[in-house]
Symmetry: C2
Subunit: 154 residues, 2 copies
């Protein structure tokens, strides 16, 4: 059968910033990312899950060498209360990539199940048509890559 997963890319030494208790109203996301873009801070994964009672939280990943500059910038924003900003270093990104993933319901479940069996905690999830990405602890990356290669490449 045609191999659906064609790659398992990883990236290490990633950090993330989470902003909790944001107003879920137009303009809030723009006010977070415009100043970062103006300073040339390259953001990688951006994730906002659905809000609850008018509030939401938003997380994004960036390289460790931009982390402090980004936090300082966000602390100066009059839209965000700095007690709602948290960050974490020492993360990694692992994905399964392939054009057939989208139409076959079990790929995400299989990826999550393999990570679970290897006791790898998933900190963030983001998907696109051809890719499922998990943010995990950097110290788990070798174990995670091993079990996913075994599952999808046999």
């Amino acid at each position: 059968i045609r191999e659906v997963v064609t790659g398992i890319p990883t990236e290490r030494k990633i950090s993330k910033i989470t902003i909790n208790d944001l107003d879920d109203t137009p303009g809030v996301a723009a006010n977070i990312f415009m100043p970062l873009a103006n300073q040339g801070i390259n953001v990688d994964v951006i994730v906002q899950s659905a809000g609850n009672k008018g509030k939401t939280n938003l997380s994004f990943t960036l390289s460790e060498n931009h982390l402090n500059q980004a936090i300082e910038l966000l602390n100066t924003s009059n839209q965000i209360n700095s007690k709602n900003i948290s960050s974490e270093k020492g993360l990694a990104k692992i994905s399964i990539v392939g054009t057939g993933i989208q139409n076959q319901p079990g790929y995400a479940a299989k990826m999550f199940k393999n990570l679970a069996d290897a006791t790898v905690n998933i900190e963030m999830i983001t998907t696109s048509e051809i890719r499922i990405t998990c943010i995990i602890k950097d110290s788990d990356i070798e174990k995670a890559a091993q079990v996913l290669h075994k599952e999808f490449f046999g």
Copy 2:
């Protein structure tokens, strides 16, 4: 200059399910998506932003004709308290796609700013290397597509 954004795909009549107050421990995501996959329920976008004090929430989108079946399935799960499950119909997906997006900080900010100026609220965000996707209200899709075409295709 080389055009970076090569497409603005949209999809309508989407619904989403959000599960709040999940334990942020290995296996929780697998226990949500394995039963859905076993029933052949195709999930599209999956988003989990970072947790807080050991808890997290997770949202995913699916077609409207699978919504009720998915909710019923989740209600039977012994891992999830059904009061933590919420859903919403009448949503749409809009993305900007292009290989150069990743290395130029400003694309996400520009997309969010244009949606904000058009008073379109962003309900979920998910990104990959070549794509930034927003989930918005289905009733906002025409306005959103118009302002993004104007910004990125001039």
